[in-house]
Amino acid sequence: MTVAPDSATPARTPVPVPETSGSVAGHPEADAAPRAVQERASAPVVIDVRNLGVKYSLRFTKKTTLRQSMANLFRRDGGPTEFWALRNVDFKLVHGESLAVIGPNGAGKSTLLQVLAGIITPSEGDIDVRGAISSLLTLGAGFDQDLTGRENIWLAGAFMGVPHSEMARRIEPIISFADIGIFIDAPIKTYSSGMRARLGFSIATSVDPDILLLDEVLATGDEVFRAKSKQRVLDLVHAAKAIVLVTHDMNWVTEFCNRAMLLEKGHVIAEGAPADVVKLHVEHSREARARKAAEIAAIGGAPITR
C-alpha cells in the first residue's frame, strides 16, 4: 500500500480493495460489513463526488456587524481570508457499500457529510447523489420550544420534505419509539434533555433512506434507550443501500464498513480496505502526538524557536 508522502499535497493513492473486507469474522454484529465487494465494478453508483472543494471565507464567518465589516474592508494586514475545508476530493460510492470517513479533528469529515446531505453547497466541483438521503446529523436540532412534541414531529417532517401522507403513517411509530408518554402533547420546553434526545433520535431514524449518513450519534439518552437506539441504527445500516459513517471509533470502521477513507487537512490521504486505512490513521496520529509532545517540550524547555 502506497501513501502520499506529504499530507498537504492533494495527491493520493487508492488502496486496492481486497476480495474480502477486513471485518472481524464471526463477530455477532459483523454481518453488516461484508457487502458484496466483488460487484463493485458493475453495481450502480449512488454517490459520485468529483473534484469537490469547500471554501470558507474568513471575512464573513461569525457574526458580523456593519462596523466590523467596514473595518475588515479597510484592514489590509494580510492573513488568509479564505480557508479550504475540503479540496480535490473525488470518490464514488456504489450500491451496497459502506464507507467510513476517518481522520484527525478538523480534517473536514463533518463538512464532507454536510455537503453530502446538501446542507453546504460545494465551492468547486459537483456531487451527485442518487437515492433518498437521511442524515442522522439532525438529532433534536431546531425543535421549536413552544410547540408540543407532536407538532414538532410534523414540523420536522415538513422540513425534511417528507410528504404529508407518509408523515401521517410514520407519526405513531415515532411517538411509540420515543416513549415519552403523555408529554408528547406538552411543549418541548417542558422536556428533560433525555426526552428531547429520544424524540430527536426517533424522528431522525424514522425514515427508510437509501443512503444513510452517520456522524457518531450513539451516545444518546439513558442505558436502556442507548441499547434500543443502537439496535435501530444497526437495522438502518442493514436496510440502507449505502452508508457514509464518520467516527472516531475504529471498531465501528472495521465492523460495519467495507471501505474507508482517511482525510487530513481537507485532502484524501488514503482510501481502501478499512484495516489498512485504520492502520495508517493510527500511525499518523501517533506521529502527530509525538510531534506535539516534542513541541510542548520545546516550549517548556527553551525559548520558542519556530
Partner: protein
C-alpha cells in the same frame, strides 16, 4: 433538489445534485419560486407555529393585535389634534387608515429580519430551501392585518357611520398589492441580515423616517405646495409606493372613493419585479448561509 412528492413507497427515485456551478439568474428565480410553491405546507406549519407562539406568552394573547393599533391611534390623535391643533375632520379614522397597513408592514419586516438567523441550528443540520423562512414569517404577519380590521370596522360602525361605504370591499385588493411589496422587501432584509446582524437597527430607523415622509399622518393634498415648488420632492412622492397604498386605503375607507387603480397597478407590477430581484439575491447568498451562521 430532492422532490419528495415523487416518492413512491420505499422504492423512491430521488436524485440530488449539488454543484459549484449554479443556474443562471432566471433559473435561480424560477427555482426559488418553485421551492415556495412545493413547500407551501411547510410555510403553513411555520406560520401557524409563529402565531401560536405570539399569542401564547402575553397576558391578552392575540387581543393585542386589536388593542395595539387603537392605542397608537390615540397617541397620534392627541399629538396632532390637541397639541398641534391641525384639525382634519374625523381624524381618528383618517389616521387609522394609515396605522393599520403600516403596522402590518413593520411587523412583517421586523419578523423577517430574524427569520433566517433565528433558524440557525436547523439550517446547519437539515437541507431545505431557506427562502421559505422569510415567506413564512411574512405570511404569518398577515394575521396582524386581519385582526386589525376588527377595530377598523368597529370604528366605522360605532363612531363614523356616515363615512362607511361599500368601497371597503376594495380593501383586500389594496392588501394584495401591499403584500407583494412587503414580501419582496422582507426577502431582501432577511438575506442581508445574515451577513450584517445590525441591519435590524438600520431598518428600524429607516422605516420610521419612511412613515413620516409618506402621506400617512397627513394627506397627499398637504404636500401640494412643496410638490409644485420642488420637482424632486414631487418625483419622490410619486415614486413612493406608500403614497399610493395609504391614499388608496384612505379613499375606500374614509373618502367613499375608488382606490388609485392605475398607481396601484404600477406598484404591484414593480413589486413583482422587486420580489424577483430579492429572490435572486437571496438564492445567490443562500449557499453561504450554513457557513456564515
Amino acid at each position: 433538489m430532492t422532490t419528495p412528492e415523487t416518492a413512491v413507497e420505499s422504492t423512491r427515485e430521488v436524485a440530488f445534485r449539488s454543484s459549484a456551478t449554479r443556474p443562471g439568474s432566471v433559473g435561480l428565480i424560477r427555482q426559488g419560486w418553485a421551492e415556495i410553491w412545493s413547500r407551501r405546507r411547510l410555510i403553513g406549519y411555520l406560520a401557524r407555529a409563529d402565531l401560536k407562539k405570539k399569542g401564547a406568552d402575553t397576558l391578552f394573547g392575540n387581543l393585542w393585535w386589536i388593542i395595539d393599533p387603537l392605542l397608537q391611534m390615540l397617541v397620534y390623535v392627541v399629538l396632532v389634534d390637541f397639541i398641534f391643533q391641525r384639525s382634519v375632520p374625523d381624524y381618528p379614522l383618517f389616521i387609522f387608515c394609515a396605522i393599520l397597513p403600516w403596522k402590518w408592514f413593520t411587523s412583517s419586516v421586523y419578523d423577517a429580519v430574524t427569520s433566517v438567523v433565528g433558524q440557525e441550528r436547523l439550517i446547519k443540520q437539515i437541507h431545505f430551501p431557506k427562502l421559505i423562512l422569510p415567506v413564512a414569517s411574512t405570511t404569518a404577519a398577515v394575521a396582524n392585518f386581519v385582526f386589525g380590521l376588527i377595530p377598523l370596522f368597529a370604528l366605522l360602525l360605532l363612531f363614523f357611520r356616515d363615512r362607511a361605504s361599500w368601497h371597503v370591499v376594495f380593501i383586500p385588493v389594496i392588501a394584495v398589492v401591499q403584500f407583494a411589496f412587503t414580501i419582496a422587501f422582507c426577502t431582501l432584509v432577511a438575506s442581508v441580515n445574515v451577513f450584517f446582524r445590525d441591519i435590524g437597527n438600520v431598518v428600524r430607523h429607516f422605516m420610521r423616517l419612511w412613515f413620516y415622509l409618506s402621506p400617512g399622518l397627513y394627506s397627499l393634498a398637504a404636500l401640494d405646495d412643496q410638490m409644485k415648488n420642488n420637482p424632486l420632492v414631487a418625483a419622490a412622492v410619486q415614486l413612493n409606493p406608500w403614497t399610493w397604498i395609504f391614499e388608496s386605503y384612505r379613499n375606500v375607507i374614509y373618502s367613499d372613493l375608488f382606490p388609485y387603480w392605475y398607481q396601484l397597478g404600477v406598484v404591484f407590477l414593480l413589486s413583482i419585479v422587486f420580489f424577483a430581484l430579492s429572490t435572486l439575491l437571496f438564492k445567490r447568498l443562500e449557499p453561504s448561509f450554513a457557513k456564515v451562521l
